[in-house]
Amino acid sequence: MTTAALEVKGLRKAFGKLTALRGLDLVVAPGRVTAVVGPNAAGKSTLIKCILGLVRPDAGRITVLGQPIGRDPGYRHAIGYMPQAPRFPDNLTGREVLDLLADLRRDDASGADLLRRFHLDEDVLAKPVRTLSGGTRQKLNAVVAFRSRPPLLVLDEPTASLDPAASGVLKDALRQAAEDGATVLLTSHVMAEVEELADDIVYLVEGAVRFHGTLDQLRLSTGERKVERAIATLMREAA
């Protein structure tokens, strides 16, 4: 039997009176690109933060590549994370940020290919981060997440601040990573992007999985050809 890349069992999390996750169960097969979608406050961010260890669940279990996550942060070697809104210390240069994160990951991969494709040459990397645009910072973020070829990529709205050319580079890198066997967990509000990139869709409502299947299964179950309309149908049914 193949080990799941990610297994979430009975995950619960409440912030005061607000319940974000209600016993969420999810199994993600290795090598799949899975998009996590849902309305606002569905629990997408909390789920991702639990996987990354940023949020401590009240109950439940998460297993990454067969390793149950606990207090030992070592499992995060296997995860490349790309947050939606990258912010780095203002006075460091892009190169220093890349070197710092490589040191922390004990990672000697340069990411030269991705740096070249994003046009991040050493002149750009020598500038203080505060002078870089949001898109350039997001490119740095992508290099950090992808360069060590981690087996699990967690990407939170990865193309949000990228221009079409950089977005294309990122999507190519994502596809390449998936072809090389990486598992990708992706959140996006752009359904065309989900349709373009994802193999599977997880639809969350009120902290639980309402639908988990392939794009074709989604189309079949909703009777809609377009993913955007299929998701809209799921939203209407959940309302």
Binding site: G53, V55, P83, P86, N91, L100, L101, L104, P128
Partner: protein, 260 residues
Amino acid sequence: MTTAVRVLTFGLQNQLRNRWILGYGLLFALLTDALFRFGGSGPRVVVSLLNVVLLVIPLVSVVFGTLHLSNSREFIELLLAQPVSRAALYVGLYFGLALPLAGAFTAGVAVPVLLHGGAGAAGLGTLLFVGSVLTLVFTSLAFVAGVHFDDRARGLGLALLVWFAATVLYDGMVLLIATLFADWPLETPMLVLSLLNPVDLGRVLLLLSVDVAALMGYTGAVFERFFGGGLGVALAGLALLAWTVLPFLLGLRGFARKDF
């Protein structure tokens, strides 16, 4: 290189290019230089700097510490998503800010002192020591506030309240007690009260180090006898150590349990 040292190194790199930190050091340099030019001798400069150190260092440390933690929120989340322990990250973040702050103060005072030939001034060492310890203490308190509140305004509000309580309210309370119980022998309670507030403890140590205790009359003599003895030095050291370590551990505990 361990995670904490690496994070500390990047913190130093970042802060040493920070104009606010450089301006903070420059402020002390200009002030110390001006006091030498207008005030004269080393001990008088130390006494003149006393109130600035006791008010400004806690204020700058709490404001800077709280804002730094709040502004670094997204980057801290990115670092926590790497294979690093929360404790190591906290240690690195804390010293990555507290050391540049203490360094800016120390350099800002020491350079003009050396230029004016006041290196041997009585109380100078104590001034630098007290200023550095207050930086560590109030940066810790700022981190406690920053860790506890996600909202920047509330964190900053709590940090400023702590500063106000330590530098103004506490003295008011001590004065009230001294007035209400004027007929009672208050030297020992005053000693205890001065140990319970790092700002007051710093003030007493500084005043005693520049030999102006006589100005405080009988109380000054009691303080001088107490802090001049082995037990007094040990208790003062223990109190400063507690003020340095306990808020740090409180912040670390909060950081380790925090949901980001």
